[in-house]
Symmetry: C2
Amino acid sequence: MAVTTWQLRRLAHENGLVFPPDPGAGEQSQIGGNVATNAGGPHAFKYGVVGRWVTGLEVVLAPGEVVSLGGAIRKDVAGYDVKSLLIGSEGTLGIVTAVALRLLPRPERVIPITAVYRSAEAGCAAIEAVYGAGIQAAALEYLDAGTLTRAGATFPGGLPPASGFLVVAEADGSEAEAERVAGELSEALSEGALTLLRPPPEELWRWRDGVSFAVTGATGAKLSEDVAVPVERLLDIVTATVEVGERHGVQACSWGHAGDGNVHASFLVAPGEPEEAAARAAADELVLGAVALGGTIAAEHGVGSLKAHRLGAQLGPRLLELQSELKHLFDPKGLLNPGKKVGS
Amino acid sequence: MAVTTWQLRRLAHENGLVFPPDPGAGEQSQIGGNVATNAGGPHAFKYGVVGRWVTGLEVVLAPGEVVSLGGAIRKDVAGYDVKSLLIGSEGTLGIVTAVALRLLPRPERVIPITAVYRSAEAGCAAIEAVYGAGIQAAALEYLDAGTLTRAGATFPGGLPPASGFLVVAEADGSEAEAERVAGELSEALSEGALTLLRPPPEELWRWRDGVSFAVTGATGAKLSEDVAVPVERLLDIVTATVEVGERHGVQACSWGHAGDGNVHASFLVAPGEPEEAAARAAADELVLGAVALGGTIAAEHGVGSLKAHRLGAQLGPRLLELQSELKHLFDPKGLLNPGKKVGS
């Protein structure tokens, strides 16, 4: 039976542990899906994505053999790293039937810090300051002006009227360590900030989980895009999201995992054909924009069928060919999730 | 020009940073080699092996095309994870010509703690206590009785006469955090310990780096083996090393990265054919013993040509076949480091 992310998180919690990556939609998303997409989440900034915590996989390979990759071992260079090839392969190379995960002791204390800025420029400068100071935050998130307009009303503690950019950082560890890192974060984030808050963690993350729904609710539908760029290009891609939307006559906003340069862009549409086509064109332009900035067309939500045709733009012809060859090697009859990840 | 591990470490140090994995033999080993073997080291316990810190690779693929895998991005699921396939492939899939690495800010403080026990049983129980308490040590190493006999004389601070097992742990972080973790380590390691010390880090690690030479010097030559098992089987493999040696008439000892279940076994021989054959047979038996314990034939030193014929014992026929198919896909003419990793 499938285990949801939330079930795993609860089980870990009851045993004083955590599953450090925290993919969203925990009640719907399943561990198999987390592995299939190599999912991330806010705390991937400190702890890395799901794949880092997978020590073993049980996989059905075509035409129908069950194999074990890795196990309860922490180092293994026997053979090529087929486990990592399967992680993030979106069900196109084999079917993952069991997963062995590493967990960590739950941190004694978690301190979120939020900082509001007038503009994306000021906010991104603060994010770079956190980086430059080498502060090891557990999470480093952002939400842009358009997102705050649509989802900011329920922000715990409220937002000042001129809020143009929100940074959410988090410190964790022992009591003393979390306080120390929180102090460093407060100092780095205070430059140019309108307000600096320490909201209660549960309230903050519940609000953060609801942002996507609030933004969708504003128009009734949205097309979501997931790209990543080098962190120093964050401002470029945040700005580009709004500009690309304007060019296509579509309202756009973004939020995401700033510390990982990972942007979730939303192109907002009323349900209906013409607008959806415009949003799709805008999303496609943004994806190519991420590649032009040295980034990726897909950071943590997978490639699926919608972006498979843009793989070549990022990888170039030789690596694209290699992808097809790998797909063919594992799945010569093309039976496994056809059309996804690498196209047909 | 090749960059040695030591050059990278110095460059990082000069900039207030560290390259968290610390493969040994830093003056000889090169970054390309570290990536080719997915090397580890003592601090891989907390920080993971080299592959975790590689964000991008420049690789020459057969028949002679230069490609870039990844880059300065921290998340990327565009296509299958070919980067991880190349890492640890021992030069058999492509030639790595450039590497992009993530570094971390240098920890403010490093506190090694050493604990001496009468027996491997007592020492391994202490290691399990560290695990059970969820203490996030930076390193968790061991050296067995036979190793201490040959290399213990120069241990900083000296060793008591009945020393049968040495545990080397390390705490790192901010001043306060390192002290806190060191306190936890001292408590967990004190049960059953003959002595507990805090030697100066430089002296300790310089001694630890020299252990291999000291052991070799005892007889003139040794055959070294590198395997890993689930951590709870550490005592089994430590004991097995000595027993396997006895069965083959070869002196044996071991040390390694206890926290990763990673054992470096040494079979000591005077240079000369008959003894070397016995050592080789002993090493082979140990490798199969690691597999029987749910472990791996190769943890961090690669498979090379000596162990390629044992890959099937660990992987089984289907995965072994897949390894050959992957090799053939990348290198159809078999030109790249032939005979290594997956055999011929």
